[in-house]
Symmetry: C2
Subunit: 210 residues, 2 copies
């Protein structure tokens, strides 16, 4: 009988994701979300406290699907470098497929970073990146500074996910080229690996990443 129950909270979450995907975080409005979910304008506040609470719930959902996509992307892949590449691809793919969630997920303005459930899933996702890089350290370069490398990869991949629309514009206006985000992930990991691996192993990277 769970399907006959209205699940207002869930309806509000998905209406929010749809609205953010459609109009961006700026175009989001509690009342419009309530309208789309077919409830009164104060219903969201009842479930989520305030608008930040609702957006935090959506961001939490986004990190959960990101982690799930990491899982499926990594099955059967053993080589540490290949695993990092797979995670990068999963990240940009998730961003592309869930624009409503991603528009909110890494936005300090909109989300309550201290919400315990949100903090848990966000940390979990970040730790998987750290683990992937620790594996690269173990396999290729014992001197690798894992924390700094994780910061770099996260900054780069998230910057890429965020800037993708702007980069197209910028490339047009400056007569430079830009590849699809998916290809860029490959390029990024290649660049990363030439740097992450010690001199003796650097010849490994180019072929083994695919």
């Amino acid at each position: 009988m769970t399907s006959s129950r209205p699940d207002t909270a869930g309806a509000l979450r998905s209406a929010t994701a749809a609205l953010v995907a459609e109009r961006g975080p700026t175009g989001f409005s509690l009342r419009e979300v309530a309208r789309r979910a077919g409830v009164s304008h104060a219903a969201p506040a009842h479930h989520f406290g305030d608008s930040r609470g609702l957006l935090t719930a959506v961001a939490t959902e986004g990190f959960q699907t990101l982690s799930a996509n990491f899982d499926t992307a990594l099955v059967g892949i053993e080589a540490p470098v290949a695993r990092l590449t797979a995670m990068g691809r999963a990240y940009v793919r998730t961003a592309q497929e869930n624009p409503g969630h991603f528009g909110v997920m890494c936005n300090d303005e909109l989300v309550d970073n201290d919400d315990p459930e949100f903090a848990a899933v966000a940390s979990a996702a970040y730790l998987r990146l750290v683990d992937a890089i620790a594996a690269i350290r173990d396999a290729h370069n014992p001197d690798l500074d894992v924390d700094a490398a994780a910061t770099l990869t996260f900054s780069a991949i998230h910057g890429l996910a965020i800037l993708t629309p702007s980069l197209g514009d910028l490339a047009d206006k400056t007569d430079t080229a830009t590849a699809p985000a998916d290809d860029l992930v490959e390029r990024f990991t290649e660049f990363f690996m030439h740097g992450f691996a010690p001199a003796s192993e650097r010849a490994v990277a180019p072929g083994s990443t695919h």
Copy 2:
């Protein structure tokens, strides 16, 4: 007598930067800006059309100071790698010193990317990055894909500038370490260079970046 003229537009721009620095882009409000500038609530619209127009003007100002900071950071520095590092440092320093401008500059939501003046200064700033990387190609690795490398460095440095607050939180919650943004710029360029340089020249990087 230009100093006796009120310069309402300028007052509105700096009130906007101050307000965004204080409350973030979300806390920004046209009427509050007007209040702080001591003009009526509709004055901003008269000068900038709508709220997006005002934010675009502030973003334009931000890119101008960024370019100016690139200029001063690069005087007397010749080595291509050192120049890239200097630009990275100038970028994060500008972001830290002008939070109000940076909160708006790379935000598609808030800014009109088609505004000609904005497009010009944003493209100019990006082209300087591309030039810096082209110089690295010329000096170290003729096969370097300049466009992809520029995308990577821009994504990483901008991601870093954006994520800096979140990264601190994340590091605390996951028991990982995070260095100050300034130090991370150094780390980033070291990582970059190990990758950017061809195998025969890779020994060059570590010492020559400082």
